[in-house]
């Protein structure tokens, strides 16, 4: 029952908020905030309580609400389950979600769509809960689609500007491409194993009977879905644009929760992916390429939110490397820690943006440390965590991934991971320095930060600092508690403690190298970069991927569409139809002279008919 409550509470409050917003003239922000924050708070309490139960070794919960579809062999239960993986996901999603809701109360203050925003936000929480708690791929898919919808609604929240609507459309369409893959995978999977039940446990039980080639295809297609949702090459283009939404949206959806759905889904299907390591390798390659590419782009960006967006994509790349190489525990671990510091970073950035009246260019900021220490220090912690500096949370999770990569058959991933770590440290420090430390470029003398905006940062800062200890590897005295708790089908890698220490040292050194480079270049302020080298221009133009997509997909499609419109539609389709319709029109023109609107004439026609009938009858009589 409490599981159903996890779903119903956010959806119910979303409905309530929507009704209040649409049908009443109530515009009390206090009320909307109370309902909007109350629901996530409640579900995070429930989730924590349930998660604590799981931690104490309780049985995983299953609840089947009703049979949703029952068509011959296709029998889909609307069922929810709460196992260890769900518990971890649910716990941090709800807690971080609650904090971001709280943050949003401050961020959205005074906005005309305050009530609408919280209706959407709670709707998103419900969808995310559905996704995480789903007991079968179909329900998961519903949640998957609903978070997509929520994301679409929230990106286009300021729908009066067409750019925002375009961004929302872009996100929606890019996600549809991924969803197409996902749905194909589900169809194939169902064709293969559907008759024996379609819940995750049932699929797991039958998975060995499936043909290997088919399984590979399913794995790839599932990953295509994950690409869309988690912004991996080549479907990542929507994520930077999605920053058009309000900053809490970016924090909640495009950093902490929704984008990790792909990782979660792959981890959920771990039993499938362990059977097809080739596909896993493919995932890892895509992941590391995404990480590298986006980290490179992030170093040259000047929009503060886009830097974070690319950073998110880069970290997601890490996670995919982990799950691709079979280190599911490490992947989820990184998801977990990343949620804390990335949410924190976005919220800090949101506070900065609000303080500077929606200025987003880092080169126009500076010197903010003096004005907002409560923002700066949490962000500093988050930056250190993101850069993998020991002993902050990011260090442990990233280290787990790097260790897995180094210990795997393909240590190249480890090397590239270190490169990415260097880049990460560089661009994060660049951001931090330009915003907080470098001389001010603006004329604000006093900047006020609402406690709603700064207070939620503190628990997250704490989380960023200490969350890593839960999954601390054996080398550092921990016991991989998280990995064991998740009990996914991890591939076991063996790395000696010494090599682990070496790796940790290396990665810390690299991070500090990145810091140092950034400090040297940006500590005393800098102008917006004017790219000179070819490579720099490439990076600034984001490797021309958008242009490439445009040239490869959009232009040919448009050409074909135009051709269809001009030739096929006009000549063939319309021509045939025109023949008919022209004939009708000619007939109709002639008949319409009869239909002259004069009722007496209609009576005349009618009576003429009666008259003729009468004549006929008279003649027959």
């Amino acid at each position: 029952m409490s599981l159903a409550l996890l779903i119903l509470l956010p959806f119910g409050s979303s409905l309530l908020l929507g009704m209040l917003y649409l049908f009443t003239s109530l515009r009390s922000e206090r009320l909307y905030a109370l309902i909007g924050v109350g629901a996530p708070l409640l579900i995070s309490l429930i989730a924590l309580w349930l998660g604590y139960g799981q931690l104490q070794g309780a049985e995983s919960l299953h609840v089947s609400l009703f049979t949703w579809l029952s068509i011959d062999a296709l029998r889909i239960e609307f069922a929810l389950s709460f196992d260890h993986l769900s518990a971890v996901m649910m716990a941090f999603v709800s807690v971080i979600g609650t904090l971001i809701h709280l943050f949003a109360v401050g961020y959205m203050r005074g906005d005309a769509g305050f009530g609408k925003f919280f209706a959407y936000f709670n709707f998103f929480m419900g969808a995310m809960a559905l996704l995480v708690l789903a007991d079968n791929p179909i329900i998961l898919f519903i949640g998957w689609e609903l978070v997509g919808l929520a994301s679409y609604l929230l990106i286009g929240f300021y729908h009066r500007e067409s750019a925002n609507v375009t961004a929302a459309n872009k996100a929606f369409i890019a996600n549809r491409v991924g969803d197409f893959g996902f749905i194909m995978a589900l169809v194939l999977l169902f064709g293969a194993v559907g008759e024996g039940g379609f819940s995750f446990s049932a699929i797991e039980a039958q998975i060995y009977s499936v043909d290997h080639a088919l399984l590979s295809l399913i794995g790839v297609l599932l990953f295509v879905g994950a690409m869309g949702k988690s912004a991996q090459i080549p479907l990542y283009v929507w994520l930077p644009d999605a920053m058009a939404g309000p900053t809490p949206v970016s924090a909640l959806i495009h950093a902490a929760t929704m984008v990790t759905a792909g990782v979660y889904m792959v981890a959920r299907f771990d039993f499938l992916y362990v059977l097809i390591p080739a596909v896993g390798l493919f995932i890892a390659v895509i992941g590391i390429l995404s990480a590298l590419l986006s980290a490179l782009i992030a170093t040259m960006q000047s929009d503060i939110k886009k830097i974070l967006a690319y950073s998110t994509m880069s970290q997601l790349g890490y996670m995919f490397v982990a799950v691709g190489l079979g280190a599911y525990g490490a992947g989820i671990f990184h998801v977990f820690t990343h949620a804390f510091f990335k949410a924190l970073l976005f919220m800090g950035v949101g506070a900065v943006i609000i303080a500077l009246h929606h200025e987003q260019n880092i080169f126009k900021m500076g010197g903010l440390r003096r004005f907002m220490p409560l923002v700066f220090y949490p962000m500093l912690i988050a930056t250190l965590a993101l850069s993998g500096v020991a002993p902050f949370a990011g260090f442990f999770s990233k280290d787990a991934i790097l260790a897995a990569a180094v210990a795997s058959e393909y240590p190249l991933f480890g090397v590239l991971g270190l490169v990415v770590a260097f880049l990460t440290a560089y661009y994060m420090m660049r951001l931090l320095l330009l915003v907080f430390v470098a001389p001010a470029k603006h004329r604000h003398t006093s900047l006020h930060v609402s406690p709603y905006l700064s207070l939620p940062l503190l628990p997250l800062a704490l989380g960023s600092a200490v969350a890593g200890f839960w999954g601390m590897g054996g080398a550092y005295g921990g016991g991989d508690a998280l990995t064991h708790f998740l009990s996914l089908s991890d591939y076991a890698h063996h790395l000696t403690h010494k090599s682990e220490y070496l790796l940790a040292l290396l990665s810390n050194l690299i991070a500090f190298a990145g810091f140092a480079l950034a400090y040297r270049r940006f500590a005393s302020g800098a102008r917006e970069p004017q790219p000179t080298a070819l490579f720099e221009r490439w990076i600034l133009e984001r490797f021309y991927v958008d242009a490439l997509y445009h040239a490869l997909l959009v232009v040919p499609l448009r050409r074909i569409s135009l051709w269809c419109e001009r030739i096929v539609d006009d000549r063939f389709v319309d021509g045939t139809l025109g023949l008919f319709s022209g004939g009708y029109r000619t007939l109709a023109t002639h008949f319409s002279t009869l239909q002259n609107g004069n009722v007496r004439h209609y009576a005349l026609y009618f009576l003429s008919g009666v008259s003729l009938l009468s004549l006929l009858l008279l003649w027959r009589l």
Partner: protein, 168 residues
């Protein structure tokens, strides 16, 4: 015998009035002819021993409806120049007769060939107010009530339709 004479005289008035109504070019003469026909029709009712119908016809058809029609002509002041000219009236009437003739002929043929009846013997009270009233409220109460509803609807409808202004 005298009844026959009365019938034919009334029939003459009835047909004459009706024909005059549809042929007259001026509305007022149509109305006058129509009144004549309606009065003659009332006479027909009297001839059929329907004394109450006779009165109802006089009261409603002649007294109320003709007056109302005339009042509309007068009070809306639909004078000569608003009355349609109808240049081909003769031709139109001929067309109408051509169309209506088979229908009428059919009914008449049917009546003549398949209908043979005579008047049934009736009590003295036939058609009087008391008798009709008894029948009306004994076995026709529902239609009676429905008609009252119809009249109410017509009343409201007439008020709404003819109201000035507000409608664009």
């Amino acid at each position: 015998m005298s009844e026959s004479i009365i019938f034919y005289v009334l029939a003459l008035f009835l047909i004459g009035g009706a024909s005059g109504m549809i042929t007259a070019r001026r509305t007022i003469f149509s109305a006058a002819s129509f009144m004549l026909a309606m009065i003659a029709l009332a006479g027909m009712f009297a001839l059929l021993n329907q004394s109450f119908l006779f009165l109802a016809q006089l009261l409603v058809a002649v007294g109320a409806i003709i007056t109302l029609s005339m009042l509309v002509i007068v009070s809306v002041n639909i004078s000569e120049r608003y009355i349609p000219k109808e240049p081909h009236l003769g031709r139109d009437l001929l067309l109408g007769v051509v169309i209506a003739a088979p229908i009428v002929a059919l009914i008449i043929t049917a009546l003549r060939t398949h209908f043979a009846a005579s008047f049934a013997p009736i009590p003295d009270t036939f058609g009087t107010l008391a008798s009709i009233g008894a029948t009306l409220f004994a076995s026709w109460v529902l239609p009676f009530e429905l008609i009252s509803l119809l009249l109410l609807a017509a009343l409201i409808g007439a008020v709404v339709i003819s109201r000035k202004g507000e409608r664009s």
